[in-house]
Amino acid sequence: MIAYLSRRLLGLVPLLLGITLISFMVIHVAPGSPMDLLTDMNPDASPELRDRLAEHWGLDEPLPVQYAMWLKRVVVGDFGNSLSRDPRPVIDKVAEALPVTLVLNLMSLCLVMAAAIPIGVYSATHPYSRSDRVATVFVFLGFAMPTFWLALLCMMLFGVELAWLPVSGLQSLDYDSLGPWDKVLDRARHLVLPVSIAAITSLAGMSRYMRSSMLEVFRQDYVTTARAKGLSERVVVYRHALRNAMLPVITLLGLSVPGLIGGSVIFETIFAIPGMGRLFYNSVMGRDYTVVMGVLVIGAVLTLLGNLLADVSYAIADPRLRRR
């Protein structure tokens, strides 16, 4: 197992290098530069300000040199400072946005699993029944509906008309003066809408996956055997079928790890949440190379680790894979 792990880990290094090289080239080759936001169409700015900014940020060097310099810093964990009007370290900016996105996505992922597995199992055990169809229509409605539209509708209904929940943001303005219990409650109230709306859109995929995976397993010989042994339907479904049907779902979970840190711009914009999506979008728009690269590298590392994690969980769930 340890040999397997270290082999896999070593293999990640060239992969990661390739990813950074390609991302670095793509973002630098895209037209524009971090200077643009300040100097384009701004009669106050003198043309030589561009050159001074470029020099200050080391953008006057040839690209390969820039890449080498960047790589040298990153290897020791220094992502540099943001190339924007807010020149704080990249790592600080990511540290502000990451927890927000992570918590939100983790909660919505839990919600998705909590809803998708029962829906999927139910649909699979009652295939083509009326309730299966109703569930299918329901999850696909959620899937097909544009997030921003659904979000606005819910905000209008629960925020404005009924006034049950806050419209946007993550905490009330008087949050600091609340007691500990009220703080938790305040947070929870703010999270209800974003978490459930984020969950609704991915419910369809997950529940359909669960359903087809279950149906697949039901056709296997060992399920027939289990049934033939006279085991109760409950034991057959939950002990024998479900565990095996979970395998592909674990893969999906592994693949959704990078998704956990990548926020959605539209979603975060609508709910006024200062997460990774907006950070990344604004950095790309401002050609803030260091932040873009920082976010990409962190994302790439997490994706690769997520895949690895999925493979390892596979190995744990299925002993045959371990020996290969």
Binding site: P31, L49, R88, V160, S168, S177, P274
Partner: protein
């Protein structure tokens, strides 16, 4: 420490409010014989409306601020927060016309216009208690003109050849040539506390940039990145403390969300979109809670022609294109009527706007005639004009992310088609748009906007020396008379003389049509009705923000001592 406590009152929903108004109206009817009558003060009739300190204003902001050192800031959010924390030496009055004193109590311009002496107020202190002196301005001046400072605002200060501190509260600046925009340039960009910053690299002073010590109407209290920026009234402000105790900027990037927050009481003030202004805010419930304002913004949108392109070299062609565009139609369709057609690059209703110029009217027949005079005819009868075998077709470019400009371009496209001119509209992401098309002069026509400074100088945009790459006369407009006018007008401090020069400058622009000036949009702020003391003026509503107040009985947010 004091903390904000929000009263646990629910926002008044539409129906309840209507009920309340109805009840009051009935009461008023019942007692109308004895009452004064004709007064629709409603429920507020016997409330004391005199100015009081306290309460908080929650304002919606599309973007987060980035840097609160004014000379390093590049975005409007940062500047609007910084303008509460730092005061300028002098500022334009409510009519955006004359300069009035702030940190400088007075100033003298020498006969020849080369020297300006500023006399500073002696009663101003930084928010940490240190006195504010001419040394602070000297530090600010040195910093902004230092080539290593990464500021976009150095140009006006580079014109200064000598900066002399005469005493603690007097300093003198000398220019090589008289420079009329100089006076107004002494704003808050050079106001920095020397005792806190001297000897530091200002570019990397991020602690100060995020927690500045200023001397303005408000003090920064806290800043949560991407969420809120809250400020408290500076009780020692030299012009008398602001009434509203707290200002909280809530960063909400989506205007729909802002609007929902406004309705639920999560915001007290926001800028409405034209659609929200005209379609979503006319209910009584909204009007009872919010006052809406509208005034022309300091910017205009235009269609600019690349004058290096053979198509547009002929003045008759440019005039023909302007005649083909119905500006009022664009205002009505794109801005839902909330704006004004533009004919010159100055804001209508201001001192510098030349009111006597007749704009080229919407007149397609005249367009066709002018184009025919220029040699364009539809010889192959395909609906598109041609000359020497070449069809009159070109591309109108605009930047991505500005829906108003795209709609404008589309309407123009349709109008051009009617006179036999084929225009394609292309939308391009900002950076690529500027770098690959505008800078390289590789465009035919663009729909873009300029914001207007309050000084009438437009040297950078229209002078023929400003046409190289990355400079702003990117349409390559060159006219000797305009060059002379712009030159002489920025060398004179005589308003009437300047006005005469700029009037003539505007006549030439209208005649030559290097741009088709399209429209000036209106700013549409909505503010909660409990705020009193708002006096709309050409400068908008925010210029006297420190005089806004909420009468004691109407205050919503109370301040109480807390942990």
């Amino acid at each position: 420490m004091l903390r904000l406590q929000i009263n646990k009152t629910r926002p008044v929903s539409g129906h309840k409010m209507q009920g309340l108004v109805l009840a009051v109206a009935l009461l008023a009817l019942a007692g109308c014989k004895s009452g004064p009558g004709g007064n629709d003060a409603g429920p507020a009739a016997d409330i004391d409306l005199s100015p009081a300190t306290g309460d908080a204003l929650l304002e919606g902001s599309i973007g987060d601020a980035s840097n609160l050192i004014p000379m390093l800031a590049g975005d409007s959010s940062s500047h609007s927060v910084a303008s509460l924390v730092f005061d300028p030496l002098l500022t334009y009055d409510r009519n955006q016309d004359q300069l009035e004193p702030r940190l400088a109590s007075s100033w003298d311009v020498s006969e020849d216009g080369l020297e300006i002496t500023f006399h500073l107020r002696e009663d101003v202190r930084w928010q940490d208690g240190e006195p504010f002196t001419a040394r602070d301005i000297e530090y600010g001046f040195k910093t902004i003109t230092d080539p290593t400072t990464l500021t976009a605002y150095a140009e006006d200060y580079r014109q200064v050849s000598l900066f002399e501190v005469i005493d603690d509260f007097t300093f003198k600046v000398t220019y090589d040539k008289p420079f009329a925009p100089a006076l107004a340039s002494w704003n808050n960009l050079v106001v920095l506390p020397r005792h806190l910053l001297e000897g530091r690299d200002i570019n990397s002073a991020t602690d100060f940039a995020r927690h500045p010590v200023g001397l303005g109407r408000y003090t920064l209290e806290s800043w949560t990145a991407g969420t809120t920026i809250s400020l408290r009234a500076n009780h020692d402000y030299y012009r008398g403390r602001a009434y509203v105790e707290r200002v909280v900027y809530r960063i909400i990037p989506d205007q729909q969300t802002q609007f929902l927050e406004l309705k639920t009481g999560g915001l007290d003030m926001m800028g409405l979109t034209p659609l929200q202004y005209s379609r979503q805010t006319s209910s009584d419930a909204f009007k009872n809670n919010f006052a809406r304002y509208k005034y022309l913004a300091n910017s205009y949108t235009y269609l600019g022609y690349n004058l290096r392109n053979d198509l547009f070299k002929d003045q008759r062609v440019r005039r023909a294109l302007t005649h083909a565009i119905n500006k009022q139609e664009i205002v009505d369709a794109v801005l839902l009527g909330l704006g004004a057609p533009a004919r010159v690059p100055y804001k209508p209703g201001t001192f510098w706007h030349n009111d006597s110029i007749e704009d080229l009217a919407f007149d397609p027949a005249r367009s066709r005639q002018l184009l025919a005079e220029a040699g364009w005819s539809d010889s192959d009868d395909n609906g598109v004009l041609d000359r020497e075998g070449k069809e009159f077709e070109f591309k109108i470019l605009t930047n991505q992310g500005n829906d108003l400009r795209l709609k404008t371009a589309t309407i123009i496209q349709r109008r051009f088609k009617e006179i036999g001119v084929k225009a394609d509209v292309r939308v391009i992401e900002w950076s690529a748009f500027i770098n690959d098309f505008v800078d390289k002069r590789a465009f035919d026509a663009v729909v873009l906007g300029w914001s207007l400074g309050l000084d009438p100088d437009q040297y950078d945009i229209w002078h023929s020396s400003k046409t190289s790459e990355k400079e702003f006369n990117f349409v390559s407009f060159a006219d000797q008379e305009v060059d002379d006018l712009l030159d002489s007008a920025r060398r004179s401090f005589d308003r009437q003389e300047r006005k005469k020069a700029y009037d003539r400058f505007q006549e030439i622009l209208v005649e030559q049509q290097p741009y088709t000036f399209l429209y000036v949009a209106e700013s549409l702020p909505a503010v909660h009705r409990r705020f009193h003391g708002i006096e709309p003026a050409p400068a908008g509503i925010a210029y006297n923000f420190e005089r806004w107040y909420v009468p004691a009985a109407l205050q919503k947010h109370s301040l109480s001592p807390g942990g």
